[in-house]
Amino acid sequence: MLLEIDDITLHYGRIQALHGISLHVNEGEIVALIGANGAGKSTIMRAISGLRAVSRGAIRFNGEDISKVRADLRVARGICQAPEGRGVFPGMTVQENLEMGAYIRRDHAAIAQDMERVFGLFPRLLERRKQAGGTLSGGEQQMLAVGRALMARPKLLLLDEPSMGLAPMIIQQIFTIITEINQQGTTVLLVEQNAQQALSRAHRAYVLETGNIVKEGTGADLLHDPAVKAAYLGVA
Protein backbone atom coordinates (compact mmCIF):
# COMPACT_ATOMS: atom_id res chain seq x y z
CA MET A 1 0.00 0.00 0.00
CA LEU A 2 1.55 3.31 -1.07
CA LEU A 3 -0.90 5.62 0.67
CA GLU A 4 -3.22 4.76 3.48
CA ILE A 5 -5.57 7.27 5.01
CA ASP A 6 -6.89 6.09 8.31
CA ASP A 7 -9.98 7.73 9.77
CA ILE A 8 -9.01 11.38 9.33
CA THR A 9 -11.15 14.32 10.33
CA LEU A 10 -10.45 17.92 9.42
CA HIS A 11 -11.93 21.23 10.49
CA TYR A 12 -12.04 24.67 8.92
CA GLY A 13 -12.43 26.69 12.10
CA ARG A 14 -15.52 25.24 13.72
CA ILE A 15 -16.86 23.64 10.57
CA GLN A 16 -16.03 19.99 10.20
CA ALA A 17 -15.15 19.23 6.58
CA LEU A 18 -14.12 15.59 6.81
CA HIS A 19 -15.87 13.04 9.03
CA GLY A 20 -13.53 10.11 9.48
CA ILE A 21 -12.29 9.38 5.98
CA SER A 22 -10.43 6.15 5.28
CA LEU A 23 -9.07 5.20 1.90
CA HIS A 24 -5.99 3.70 0.36
CA VAL A 25 -4.00 3.81 -2.86
CA ASN A 26 -1.91 0.86 -4.03
CA GLU A 27 1.30 1.29 -5.94
CA GLY A 28 0.70 1.62 -9.68
CA GLU A 29 -3.00 2.46 -9.42
CA ILE A 30 -5.11 5.33 -10.63
CA VAL A 31 -7.61 6.03 -7.88
CA ALA A 32 -10.41 8.52 -8.38
CA LEU A 33 -12.34 10.49 -5.78
CA ILE A 34 -15.65 11.72 -7.10
CA GLY A 35 -18.32 13.80 -5.48
CA ALA A 36 -20.31 16.99 -5.74
CA ASN A 37 -19.13 20.48 -4.90
CA GLY A 38 -18.32 20.82 -1.22
CA ALA A 39 -18.14 17.09 -0.62
CA GLY A 40 -14.58 17.48 0.67
CA LYS A 41 -12.60 16.17 -2.29
CA SER A 42 -10.13 19.02 -2.43
CA THR A 43 -9.90 19.05 1.35
CA ILE A 44 -8.65 15.46 1.28
CA MET A 45 -6.03 16.50 -1.25
CA ARG A 46 -4.95 19.41 0.92
CA ALA A 47 -4.68 17.08 3.88
CA ILE A 48 -2.51 14.63 1.95
CA SER A 49 -0.17 17.28 0.55
CA GLY A 50 0.02 19.02 3.91
CA LEU A 51 -1.55 22.39 3.14
CA ARG A 52 -4.07 21.66 5.89
CA ALA A 53 -3.48 19.85 9.15
CA VAL A 54 -5.83 17.01 10.05
CA SER A 55 -7.56 17.12 13.43
CA ARG A 56 -7.41 13.38 13.95
CA GLY A 57 -6.31 10.21 12.20
CA ALA A 58 -3.25 9.10 10.32
CA ILE A 59 -1.95 9.53 6.78
CA ARG A 60 0.56 6.79 6.07
CA PHE A 61 2.84 7.01 3.07
CA ASN A 62 5.00 3.95 2.50
CA GLY A 63 4.08 2.91 6.03
CA GLU A 64 5.24 6.16 7.68
CA ASP A 65 2.70 8.44 9.33
CA ILE A 66 3.21 11.80 7.60
CA SER A 67 0.23 13.62 9.07
CA LYS A 68 2.52 15.82 11.18
CA VAL A 69 5.18 16.30 8.48
CA ARG A 70 5.59 19.75 6.85
CA ALA A 71 4.23 20.12 3.32
CA ASP A 72 7.61 20.72 1.69
CA LEU A 73 9.04 17.59 3.31
CA ARG A 74 6.16 15.53 1.99
CA VAL A 75 7.24 16.57 -1.51
CA ALA A 76 10.69 15.27 -0.71
CA ARG A 77 9.11 11.94 0.31
CA GLY A 78 7.46 11.65 -3.08
CA ILE A 79 4.03 13.27 -2.97
CA CYS A 80 3.40 16.04 -5.44
CA GLN A 81 0.17 17.80 -6.22
CA ALA A 82 -1.06 19.74 -9.20
CA PRO A 83 -3.33 22.13 -7.32
CA GLU A 84 -6.94 22.96 -8.03
CA GLY A 85 -7.39 25.93 -10.31
CA ARG A 86 -4.02 24.99 -11.83
CA GLY A 87 -1.92 27.31 -9.68
CA VAL A 88 0.78 27.89 -12.25
CA PHE A 89 3.19 30.70 -11.45
CA PRO A 90 1.84 33.43 -13.72
CA GLY A 91 4.99 35.52 -14.02
CA MET A 92 7.36 32.63 -14.64
CA THR A 93 7.88 31.22 -18.09
CA VAL A 94 6.74 27.69 -18.88
CA GLN A 95 10.29 26.50 -18.47
CA GLU A 96 10.73 28.30 -15.14
CA ASN A 97 7.48 26.77 -13.93
CA LEU A 98 8.79 23.33 -14.77
CA GLU A 99 12.08 24.12 -13.07
CA MET A 100 10.14 25.09 -9.95
CA GLY A 101 8.57 21.64 -10.06
CA ALA A 102 12.04 20.20 -9.66
CA TYR A 103 12.85 22.59 -6.82
CA ILE A 104 13.67 19.86 -4.30
CA ARG A 105 15.98 18.04 -6.70
CA ARG A 106 19.63 18.75 -7.43
CA ASP A 107 20.38 16.10 -10.04
CA HIS A 108 20.60 18.53 -12.94
CA ALA A 109 21.17 15.96 -15.67
CA ALA A 110 18.10 13.97 -14.67
CA ILE A 111 16.05 17.17 -14.37
CA ALA A 112 16.91 18.07 -17.95
CA GLN A 113 15.86 14.56 -18.97
CA ASP A 114 12.55 14.84 -17.16
CA MET A 115 11.91 18.17 -18.81
CA GLU A 116 12.35 16.50 -22.18
CA ARG A 117 9.89 13.86 -21.05
CA VAL A 118 7.31 16.47 -20.05
CA PHE A 119 7.77 18.24 -23.38
CA GLY A 120 7.28 14.85 -25.02
CA LEU A 121 3.98 14.38 -23.20
CA PHE A 122 2.86 17.96 -23.84
CA PRO A 123 4.31 19.25 -27.11
CA ARG A 124 2.28 22.43 -26.66
CA LEU A 125 4.40 23.35 -23.66
CA LEU A 126 7.55 23.09 -25.75
CA GLU A 127 6.10 25.57 -28.22
CA ARG A 128 5.39 27.99 -25.37
CA ARG A 129 8.56 27.37 -23.43
CA LYS A 130 9.53 31.05 -23.12
CA GLN A 131 6.00 32.32 -22.57
CA ALA A 132 4.75 33.50 -19.14
CA GLY A 133 2.53 30.97 -17.38
CA GLY A 134 -0.23 33.51 -16.89
CA THR A 135 -0.59 34.05 -20.63
CA LEU A 136 -1.38 30.40 -21.42
CA SER A 137 -4.88 29.15 -22.16
CA GLY A 138 -6.75 27.14 -19.54
CA GLY A 139 -5.89 23.80 -21.10
CA GLU A 140 -2.24 24.72 -21.46
CA GLN A 141 -2.13 25.83 -17.84
CA GLN A 142 -3.55 22.50 -16.78
CA MET A 143 -0.91 20.71 -18.85
CA LEU A 144 1.72 22.89 -17.24
CA ALA A 145 0.41 22.13 -13.75
CA VAL A 146 0.52 18.39 -14.41
CA GLY A 147 3.93 18.62 -16.07
CA ARG A 148 5.28 20.71 -13.22
CA ALA A 149 4.12 18.15 -10.65
CA LEU A 150 5.82 15.41 -12.67
CA MET A 151 9.10 17.33 -12.50
CA ALA A 152 9.33 16.44 -8.81
CA ARG A 153 9.44 12.77 -9.86
CA PRO A 154 6.65 11.89 -7.44
CA LYS A 155 5.82 8.38 -6.40
CA LEU A 156 2.28 9.60 -5.88
CA LEU A 157 0.83 12.26 -8.15
CA LEU A 158 -2.16 14.14 -6.77
CA LEU A 159 -4.40 15.77 -9.34
CA ASP A 160 -7.10 18.12 -8.15
CA GLU A 161 -9.81 18.52 -10.78
CA PRO A 162 -7.64 18.36 -13.90
CA SER A 163 -10.72 18.82 -16.09
CA MET A 164 -12.02 21.97 -14.44
CA GLY A 165 -13.16 24.56 -16.95
CA LEU A 166 -11.75 22.78 -19.97
CA ALA A 167 -13.28 21.94 -23.32
CA PRO A 168 -14.28 18.26 -23.84
CA MET A 169 -11.51 17.74 -26.41
CA ILE A 170 -8.86 18.95 -24.00
CA ILE A 171 -10.30 16.89 -21.14
CA GLN A 172 -9.97 13.81 -23.32
CA GLN A 173 -6.35 14.72 -24.05
CA ILE A 174 -5.48 15.35 -20.42
CA PHE A 175 -6.96 12.05 -19.29
CA THR A 176 -5.14 10.15 -22.03
CA ILE A 177 -1.91 11.64 -20.76
CA ILE A 178 -2.78 10.81 -17.15
CA THR A 179 -3.21 7.17 -18.18
CA GLU A 180 0.09 7.35 -20.00
CA ILE A 181 1.87 8.80 -16.98
CA ASN A 182 0.40 6.03 -14.87
CA GLN A 183 1.58 3.37 -17.28
CA GLN A 184 5.07 4.85 -17.06
CA GLY A 185 5.01 4.02 -13.36
CA THR A 186 3.53 6.91 -11.40
CA THR A 187 0.70 6.20 -8.99
CA VAL A 188 -2.15 8.71 -9.38
CA LEU A 189 -4.81 9.91 -6.97
CA LEU A 190 -7.32 12.03 -8.78
CA VAL A 191 -10.18 14.24 -7.66
CA GLU A 192 -12.87 14.84 -10.24
CA GLN A 193 -16.31 16.17 -10.89
CA ASN A 194 -16.22 14.72 -14.36
CA ALA A 195 -17.20 11.27 -13.09
CA GLN A 196 -17.55 9.72 -16.54
CA GLN A 197 -13.92 10.34 -17.48
CA ALA A 198 -12.54 9.67 -14.02
CA LEU A 199 -14.34 6.35 -13.54
CA SER A 200 -13.52 5.03 -16.96
CA ARG A 201 -9.81 5.74 -16.43
CA ALA A 202 -9.46 4.74 -12.78
CA HIS A 203 -8.67 1.32 -11.40
CA ARG A 204 -10.62 2.07 -8.27
CA ALA A 205 -12.75 4.91 -7.05
CA TYR A 206 -14.39 6.39 -3.98
CA VAL A 207 -17.60 8.38 -3.86
CA LEU A 208 -17.61 11.22 -1.39
CA GLU A 209 -20.65 12.94 0.09
CA THR A 210 -20.48 15.77 2.67
CA GLY A 211 -17.24 14.63 4.18
CA ASN A 212 -18.02 10.89 4.22
CA ILE A 213 -17.09 8.11 1.88
CA VAL A 214 -20.38 6.50 0.83
CA LYS A 215 -19.21 4.06 -1.81
CA GLU A 216 -16.11 2.45 -3.13
CA GLY A 217 -15.29 -0.03 -5.84
CA THR A 218 -13.54 -0.51 -9.15
CA GLY A 219 -14.00 2.22 -11.74
CA ALA A 220 -16.08 -0.04 -13.96
CA ASP A 221 -18.36 -1.13 -11.10
CA LEU A 222 -19.13 2.41 -10.07
CA LEU A 223 -19.64 3.44 -13.66
CA HIS A 224 -22.53 0.98 -13.81
CA ASP A 225 -23.84 1.56 -10.31
CA PRO A 226 -27.38 2.92 -10.61
CA ALA A 227 -27.05 5.33 -7.69
CA VAL A 228 -23.80 6.76 -9.03
CA LYS A 229 -25.29 6.98 -12.49
CA ALA A 230 -28.21 8.98 -11.21
CA ALA A 231 -26.19 11.32 -9.04
CA TYR A 232 -22.99 11.93 -10.99
CA LEU A 233 -23.41 10.77 -14.54
CA GLY A 234 -26.70 12.43 -15.22
CA VAL A 235 -28.30 9.21 -16.42
CA ALA A 236 -31.54 7.99 -14.89
Binding site: F89, G91, E99, Y103, I104, G134, A152
Partner: protein, 400 residues
Protein backbone atom coordinates in the same frame (compact mmCIF):
# COMPACT_ATOMS: atom_id res chain seq x y z
CA UNK B 1 -3.03 45.44 -29.78
CA UNK B 2 -2.65 48.67 -31.71
CA UNK B 3 0.42 49.32 -33.80
CA UNK B 4 1.25 52.22 -31.56
CA UNK B 5 1.63 50.10 -28.44
CA UNK B 6 3.64 47.56 -30.40
CA UNK B 7 5.95 50.33 -31.52
CA UNK B 8 6.23 51.61 -27.99
CA UNK B 9 7.07 48.18 -26.64
CA UNK B 10 9.60 47.62 -29.35
CA UNK B 11 11.27 50.90 -28.53
CA UNK B 12 11.46 49.98 -24.86
CA UNK B 13 12.79 46.56 -25.68
CA UNK B 14 15.38 48.14 -27.88
CA UNK B 15 16.67 50.38 -25.14
CA UNK B 16 17.18 47.51 -22.72
CA UNK B 17 18.37 45.03 -25.30
CA UNK B 18 20.66 47.47 -27.02
CA UNK B 19 22.52 47.92 -23.75
CA UNK B 20 22.60 44.16 -23.23
CA UNK B 21 23.90 43.67 -26.76
CA UNK B 22 26.93 45.90 -26.21
CA UNK B 23 30.20 44.04 -25.79
CA UNK B 24 31.01 43.39 -22.16
CA UNK B 25 33.93 45.87 -21.88
CA UNK B 26 31.69 48.61 -23.25
CA UNK B 27 28.98 47.76 -20.76
CA UNK B 28 31.43 47.82 -17.88
CA UNK B 29 32.91 51.10 -19.10
CA UNK B 30 29.45 52.64 -19.29
CA UNK B 31 28.67 51.47 -15.76
CA UNK B 32 31.95 52.89 -14.45
CA UNK B 33 31.29 56.27 -16.08
CA UNK B 34 27.80 56.27 -14.61
CA UNK B 35 29.07 55.45 -11.12
CA UNK B 36 31.73 58.18 -11.34
CA UNK B 37 28.98 60.62 -12.29
CA UNK B 38 27.04 59.53 -9.23
CA UNK B 39 30.00 60.28 -7.01
CA UNK B 40 30.25 63.75 -8.57
CA UNK B 41 26.60 64.60 -7.96
CA UNK B 42 27.02 66.73 -4.82
CA UNK B 43 29.58 69.06 -6.45
CA UNK B 44 28.10 72.37 -7.49
CA UNK B 45 30.49 72.69 -10.42
CA UNK B 46 28.91 69.62 -11.94
CA UNK B 47 25.64 71.48 -12.38
CA UNK B 48 27.25 74.70 -13.54
CA UNK B 49 28.68 72.82 -16.50
CA UNK B 50 25.47 71.08 -17.51
CA UNK B 51 24.76 73.87 -19.98
CA UNK B 52 21.16 74.53 -19.00
CA UNK B 53 19.95 78.13 -19.11
CA UNK B 54 20.08 79.81 -15.72
CA UNK B 55 17.79 82.70 -14.76
CA UNK B 56 20.06 85.71 -14.32
CA UNK B 57 21.13 86.60 -10.81
CA UNK B 58 19.01 83.92 -9.13
CA UNK B 59 21.77 81.65 -7.97
CA UNK B 60 19.59 78.87 -9.34
CA UNK B 61 21.10 75.79 -10.97
CA UNK B 62 18.97 73.22 -12.75
CA UNK B 63 18.66 70.01 -10.73
CA UNK B 64 20.65 71.48 -7.87
CA UNK B 65 18.68 71.88 -4.67
CA UNK B 66 19.61 75.47 -3.95
CA UNK B 67 17.10 75.58 -1.10
CA UNK B 68 18.96 72.89 0.83
CA UNK B 69 22.41 71.36 0.83
CA UNK B 70 22.68 69.11 -2.23
CA UNK B 71 25.02 66.64 -0.54
CA UNK B 72 22.66 66.46 2.43
CA UNK B 73 19.70 65.79 0.18
CA UNK B 74 21.66 63.13 -1.68
CA UNK B 75 22.70 61.52 1.60
CA UNK B 76 19.07 61.39 2.66
CA UNK B 77 18.19 59.96 -0.76
CA UNK B 78 20.92 57.42 -0.13
CA UNK B 79 19.58 56.02 3.10
CA UNK B 80 16.05 56.03 1.73
CA UNK B 81 17.28 54.12 -1.30
CA UNK B 82 18.82 51.60 1.09
CA UNK B 83 15.51 51.35 2.93
CA UNK B 84 13.67 50.93 -0.35
CA UNK B 85 16.11 48.20 -1.39
CA UNK B 86 15.48 46.43 1.92
CA UNK B 87 11.71 46.72 1.67
CA UNK B 88 11.97 45.61 -1.94
CA UNK B 89 13.32 42.27 -0.75
CA UNK B 90 10.38 41.86 1.62
CA UNK B 91 7.62 43.29 -0.54
CA UNK B 92 8.99 43.09 -4.05
CA UNK B 93 10.59 39.66 -3.90
CA UNK B 94 8.71 37.71 -1.27
CA UNK B 95 5.46 39.67 -1.64
CA UNK B 96 5.03 40.41 2.08
CA UNK B 97 3.33 43.69 2.88
CA UNK B 98 5.38 45.27 5.66
CA UNK B 99 3.93 48.60 6.76
CA UNK B 100 6.37 49.14 9.60
CA UNK B 101 9.65 48.84 7.82
CA UNK B 102 11.05 51.98 9.41
CA UNK B 103 11.05 50.14 12.74
CA UNK B 104 14.19 48.28 11.67
CA UNK B 105 15.80 51.60 10.77
CA UNK B 106 15.05 52.71 14.34
CA UNK B 107 16.59 49.56 15.81
CA UNK B 108 19.78 50.15 13.78
CA UNK B 109 19.96 53.83 14.67
CA UNK B 110 19.40 53.29 18.40
CA UNK B 111 21.94 50.49 18.56
CA UNK B 112 24.61 52.71 17.09
CA UNK B 113 23.60 55.63 19.27
CA UNK B 114 23.65 53.62 22.51
CA UNK B 115 27.03 52.09 21.82
CA UNK B 116 28.91 55.08 20.38
CA UNK B 117 27.68 58.00 22.45
CA UNK B 118 29.68 58.95 25.53
CA UNK B 119 26.40 60.15 27.02
CA UNK B 120 24.68 56.84 26.52
CA UNK B 121 23.16 55.51 29.72
CA UNK B 122 24.99 52.28 29.12
CA UNK B 123 28.08 54.23 30.10
CA UNK B 124 26.88 56.98 32.42
CA UNK B 125 24.52 54.97 34.58
CA UNK B 126 24.99 51.27 34.18
CA UNK B 127 28.72 50.96 33.51
CA UNK B 128 28.04 48.22 30.96
CA UNK B 129 30.59 49.85 28.72
CA UNK B 130 33.71 51.59 29.88
CA UNK B 131 33.98 53.93 26.94
CA UNK B 132 32.04 54.50 23.71
CA UNK B 133 32.72 52.05 20.93
CA UNK B 134 33.89 53.15 17.50
CA UNK B 135 31.07 53.56 14.96
CA UNK B 136 32.42 50.96 12.59
CA UNK B 137 32.30 48.22 15.24
CA UNK B 138 28.71 48.98 16.10
CA UNK B 139 27.41 48.74 12.53
CA UNK B 140 27.53 44.92 12.36
CA UNK B 141 25.89 44.81 15.78
CA UNK B 142 23.15 47.14 14.56
CA UNK B 143 22.61 44.96 11.50
CA UNK B 144 22.50 41.82 13.62
CA UNK B 145 20.01 43.31 16.09
CA UNK B 146 17.77 44.59 13.29
CA UNK B 147 17.89 41.13 11.75
CA UNK B 148 17.06 39.57 15.10
CA UNK B 149 14.10 41.89 15.56
CA UNK B 150 12.99 40.94 12.06
CA UNK B 151 13.09 37.28 12.97
CA UNK B 152 11.34 37.88 16.30
CA UNK B 153 8.61 39.82 14.55
CA UNK B 154 8.38 37.39 11.68
CA UNK B 155 8.33 34.18 13.69
CA UNK B 156 4.78 34.55 14.99
CA UNK B 157 3.43 36.79 12.23
CA UNK B 158 4.62 35.21 8.99
CA UNK B 159 2.15 32.42 9.49
CA UNK B 160 -0.42 35.09 8.82
CA UNK B 161 -1.12 36.20 5.30
CA UNK B 162 -1.96 39.44 3.57
CA UNK B 163 -3.82 42.02 5.60
CA UNK B 164 -2.99 40.54 8.98
CA UNK B 165 0.72 40.82 8.35
CA UNK B 166 0.35 44.45 7.28
CA UNK B 167 -1.47 45.31 10.51
CA UNK B 168 1.01 43.51 12.76
CA UNK B 169 4.02 45.17 11.13
CA UNK B 170 2.30 48.53 11.38
CA UNK B 171 1.92 47.88 15.09
CA UNK B 172 5.57 46.87 15.40
CA UNK B 173 6.89 50.19 14.08
CA UNK B 174 4.53 52.13 16.31
CA UNK B 175 5.56 50.12 19.37
CA UNK B 176 9.22 50.87 18.68
CA UNK B 177 8.50 54.56 18.30
CA UNK B 178 6.31 54.79 21.40
CA UNK B 179 8.74 52.80 23.53
CA UNK B 180 11.56 55.04 22.34
CA UNK B 181 9.49 58.10 23.22
CA UNK B 182 8.46 57.04 26.70
CA UNK B 183 11.12 54.72 27.87
CA UNK B 184 13.55 56.54 30.07
CA UNK B 185 15.95 54.14 31.70
CA UNK B 186 18.05 53.42 28.66
CA UNK B 187 16.80 55.21 25.52
CA UNK B 188 16.40 58.48 27.43
CA UNK B 189 12.89 59.19 26.14
CA UNK B 190 12.28 62.34 24.15
CA UNK B 191 15.56 63.87 25.22
CA UNK B 192 17.26 61.30 23.04
CA UNK B 193 20.90 60.42 22.76
CA UNK B 194 23.37 63.14 21.74
CA UNK B 195 26.99 62.95 20.54
CA UNK B 196 26.54 59.82 18.49
CA UNK B 197 29.78 58.61 16.95
CA UNK B 198 30.80 59.22 13.34
CA UNK B 199 32.47 56.89 10.86
CA UNK B 200 36.28 56.80 11.15
CA UNK B 201 38.93 58.37 8.93
CA UNK B 202 40.89 61.60 8.56
CA UNK B 203 42.03 63.66 5.58
CA UNK B 204 45.82 63.96 5.06
CA UNK B 205 45.75 67.31 6.89
CA UNK B 206 44.39 65.66 10.02
CA UNK B 207 40.77 66.85 9.70
CA UNK B 208 38.11 64.19 10.28
CA UNK B 209 36.49 63.07 7.03
CA UNK B 210 33.11 62.48 8.57
CA UNK B 211 32.11 65.61 10.36
CA UNK B 212 29.66 68.35 9.44
CA UNK B 213 30.21 68.22 5.70
CA UNK B 214 27.65 65.93 4.02
CA UNK B 215 29.59 64.92 0.92
CA UNK B 216 31.69 62.14 2.52
CA UNK B 217 28.54 60.65 4.05
CA UNK B 218 26.95 60.62 0.62
CA UNK B 219 30.00 58.86 -0.81
CA UNK B 220 29.86 56.34 2.00
CA UNK B 221 26.17 55.59 1.55
CA UNK B 222 26.60 55.39 -2.22
CA UNK B 223 29.36 52.82 -1.77
CA UNK B 224 27.20 50.82 0.61
CA UNK B 225 24.31 50.96 -1.86
CA UNK B 226 26.50 49.57 -4.63
CA UNK B 227 27.62 46.71 -2.38
CA UNK B 228 24.03 45.97 -1.31
CA UNK B 229 22.91 45.94 -4.96
CA UNK B 230 25.46 43.23 -5.77
CA UNK B 231 24.36 41.23 -2.75
CA UNK B 232 20.66 41.46 -3.59
CA UNK B 233 21.20 40.68 -7.27
CA UNK B 234 23.02 37.49 -6.39
CA UNK B 235 20.34 36.52 -3.91
CA UNK B 236 17.55 37.17 -6.40
CA UNK B 237 19.17 34.89 -8.95
CA UNK B 238 19.78 32.08 -6.49
CA UNK B 239 17.54 29.26 -5.25
CA UNK B 240 16.40 31.59 -2.50
CA UNK B 241 15.35 34.17 -5.06
CA UNK B 242 13.40 31.63 -7.06
CA UNK B 243 11.65 30.46 -3.91
CA UNK B 244 10.66 34.07 -3.16
CA UNK B 245 9.18 34.53 -6.61
CA UNK B 246 7.21 31.31 -6.22
CA UNK B 247 5.90 32.34 -2.79
CA UNK B 248 4.89 35.74 -4.08
CA UNK B 249 3.12 34.37 -7.13
CA UNK B 250 1.27 31.52 -5.44
CA UNK B 251 2.14 30.53 -1.92
CA UNK B 252 0.15 27.28 -1.94
CA UNK B 253 1.67 26.17 -5.22
CA UNK B 254 5.14 27.01 -3.90
CA UNK B 255 4.53 24.83 -0.89
CA UNK B 256 3.29 22.02 -3.13
CA UNK B 257 6.55 22.23 -5.08
CA UNK B 258 8.48 21.62 -1.88
CA UNK B 259 9.49 25.18 -1.03
CA UNK B 260 9.73 25.65 2.75
CA UNK B 261 7.69 28.81 2.52
CA UNK B 262 7.83 29.86 6.15
CA UNK B 263 11.60 29.58 6.26
CA UNK B 264 12.08 31.65 3.12
CA UNK B 265 9.58 34.28 4.20
CA UNK B 266 11.51 34.57 7.43
CA UNK B 267 14.74 34.94 5.46
CA UNK B 268 13.25 37.71 3.35
CA UNK B 269 12.15 39.45 6.53
CA UNK B 270 15.55 39.07 8.16
CA UNK B 271 17.51 40.26 5.12
CA UNK B 272 15.17 43.20 4.59
CA UNK B 273 15.46 44.09 8.27
CA UNK B 274 19.25 43.87 8.11
CA UNK B 275 19.35 46.36 5.25
CA UNK B 276 16.94 48.61 7.14
CA UNK B 277 19.19 48.43 10.20
CA UNK B 278 22.23 49.21 8.09
CA UNK B 279 20.46 52.27 6.74
CA UNK B 280 19.61 53.35 10.29
CA UNK B 281 23.19 52.97 11.46
CA UNK B 282 24.46 55.07 8.55
CA UNK B 283 21.94 57.73 9.33
CA UNK B 284 22.84 57.72 13.04
CA UNK B 285 26.52 58.02 12.11
CA UNK B 286 25.73 61.33 10.49
CA UNK B 287 22.84 62.61 12.60
CA UNK B 288 24.79 63.10 15.82
CA UNK B 289 21.52 63.04 17.75
CA UNK B 290 18.91 60.29 17.88
CA UNK B 291 15.45 60.52 19.39
CA UNK B 292 12.05 59.11 18.64
CA UNK B 293 10.81 62.00 16.49
CA UNK B 294 12.61 60.61 13.47
CA UNK B 295 10.72 57.35 13.48
CA UNK B 296 7.18 58.44 12.82
CA UNK B 297 4.83 56.30 10.80
CA UNK B 298 4.94 58.54 7.74
CA UNK B 299 8.50 57.41 7.10
CA UNK B 300 7.40 53.80 6.77
CA UNK B 301 4.72 54.91 4.36
CA UNK B 302 7.23 57.00 2.42
CA UNK B 303 9.49 53.97 1.97
CA UNK B 304 6.49 51.92 0.86
CA UNK B 305 5.57 54.66 -1.59
CA UNK B 306 9.13 54.62 -2.91
CA UNK B 307 9.01 50.90 -3.63
CA UNK B 308 5.59 50.98 -5.27
CA UNK B 309 6.35 54.12 -7.27
CA UNK B 310 9.60 52.71 -8.58
CA UNK B 311 8.23 49.26 -9.23
CA UNK B 312 8.15 46.46 -6.68
CA UNK B 313 10.52 43.61 -7.36
CA UNK B 314 12.98 45.71 -9.31
CA UNK B 315 16.26 46.98 -7.90
CA UNK B 316 16.31 49.86 -10.35
CA UNK B 317 12.78 50.70 -9.32
CA UNK B 318 13.61 50.79 -5.62
CA UNK B 319 16.53 53.11 -6.33
CA UNK B 320 14.48 55.38 -8.56
CA UNK B 321 11.61 55.43 -6.05
CA UNK B 322 13.85 56.12 -3.05
CA UNK B 323 15.51 58.92 -4.96
CA UNK B 324 12.28 60.52 -6.13
CA UNK B 325 10.50 60.59 -2.78
CA UNK B 326 13.32 62.56 -1.16
CA UNK B 327 14.82 64.54 -3.99
CA UNK B 328 11.65 65.77 -5.65
CA UNK B 329 10.23 67.81 -2.75
CA UNK B 330 13.63 69.32 -1.98
CA UNK B 331 14.09 70.23 -5.59
CA UNK B 332 10.59 71.64 -5.81
CA UNK B 333 11.41 73.79 -2.82
CA UNK B 334 14.36 75.44 -4.55
CA UNK B 335 12.42 75.79 -7.78
CA UNK B 336 9.72 77.49 -5.77
CA UNK B 337 12.22 79.94 -4.32
CA UNK B 338 13.64 80.82 -7.73
CA UNK B 339 10.34 81.44 -9.42
CA UNK B 340 8.85 83.06 -6.36
CA UNK B 341 6.18 80.46 -5.66
CA UNK B 342 4.49 81.34 -2.40
CA UNK B 343 5.09 79.05 0.55
CA UNK B 344 1.95 80.32 2.27
CA UNK B 345 -1.40 81.48 1.09
CA UNK B 346 -4.00 83.30 3.10
CA UNK B 347 -7.60 82.32 2.67
CA UNK B 348 -10.15 84.10 4.80
CA UNK B 349 -7.51 85.02 7.34
CA UNK B 350 -6.14 81.49 7.64
CA UNK B 351 -2.53 80.91 6.66
CA UNK B 352 -2.09 77.73 4.72
CA UNK B 353 1.34 76.25 4.23
CA UNK B 354 1.77 75.35 0.57
CA UNK B 355 5.53 74.83 0.38
CA UNK B 356 6.44 71.71 -1.60
CA UNK B 357 8.17 70.21 1.41
CA UNK B 358 5.13 70.26 3.62
CA UNK B 359 2.90 69.29 0.72
CA UNK B 360 5.10 66.37 -0.25
CA UNK B 361 2.66 63.77 0.96
CA UNK B 362 -0.10 65.43 -1.00
CA UNK B 363 2.15 65.50 -4.05
CA UNK B 364 3.08 61.83 -3.59
CA UNK B 365 -0.47 60.85 -2.95
CA UNK B 366 -1.43 62.44 -6.25
CA UNK B 367 1.65 61.08 -8.02
CA UNK B 368 1.04 57.58 -6.67
CA UNK B 369 -2.57 57.63 -7.79
CA UNK B 370 -1.57 58.77 -11.26
CA UNK B 371 1.23 56.21 -11.52
CA UNK B 372 -0.92 53.39 -10.17
CA UNK B 373 -3.63 54.17 -12.72
CA UNK B 374 -1.43 54.54 -15.77
CA UNK B 375 1.54 52.44 -14.79
CA UNK B 376 0.52 50.05 -11.99
CA UNK B 377 3.70 48.04 -12.31
CA UNK B 378 5.76 51.11 -11.32
CA UNK B 379 8.10 53.42 -13.19
CA UNK B 380 10.91 50.90 -13.62
CA UNK B 381 9.11 47.59 -13.38
CA UNK B 382 10.34 44.10 -13.00
CA UNK B 383 9.30 42.22 -16.14
CA UNK B 384 7.99 39.26 -14.21
CA UNK B 385 5.96 41.32 -11.79
CA UNK B 386 4.43 43.21 -14.67
CA UNK B 387 3.26 39.86 -16.08
CA UNK B 388 1.82 38.86 -12.70
CA UNK B 389 -0.06 42.10 -12.48
CA UNK B 390 -1.59 41.55 -15.90
CA UNK B 391 -2.59 38.07 -14.80
CA UNK B 392 -4.31 39.46 -11.74
CA UNK B 393 -6.11 42.12 -13.75
CA UNK B 394 -7.34 39.39 -16.05
CA UNK B 395 -8.80 37.61 -13.04
CA UNK B 396 -10.61 40.73 -11.93
CA UNK B 397 -11.94 41.63 -15.38
CA UNK B 398 -11.68 38.92 -18.02
CA UNK B 399 -10.94 40.47 -21.39
CA UNK B 400 -11.95 37.55 -23.59
Amino acid sequence: MTTETVKKQRWKLNLRDRFQDLPKPARIAAMVVFVVLLYLLPTKAFYENLGFPIPVGSGYLPFYTTGSDMAGVLFQCGYYILLALGLNVVLGYAGLLDLGFFGFFAVGAYTVALLTSPESKLITEYNWLESPWPWLVTVPIAIALAMLSGVLLGWPTLRLRGDYLAIVTLGFAEIIRIVAKNQDWILNGDRGIPSVGHPPGTWPDGEAIFDLEFTPYYWLVLTVIIAVIFLIRNLANSRVGRAWVAIREDEDAAELMGVPTFKFKLWAFAIGAAIGGLSGSLWAGQANFVNSNTFSLENSILVLAAVLLGGAGSIGGAILGGFIVIYLPEWLRSVGDVFGWPTQVEIAGIHIDVSPTSLRFVIFGALLIVVMIYRPQGLWPNRRRAAELKDRQKEVAPVE
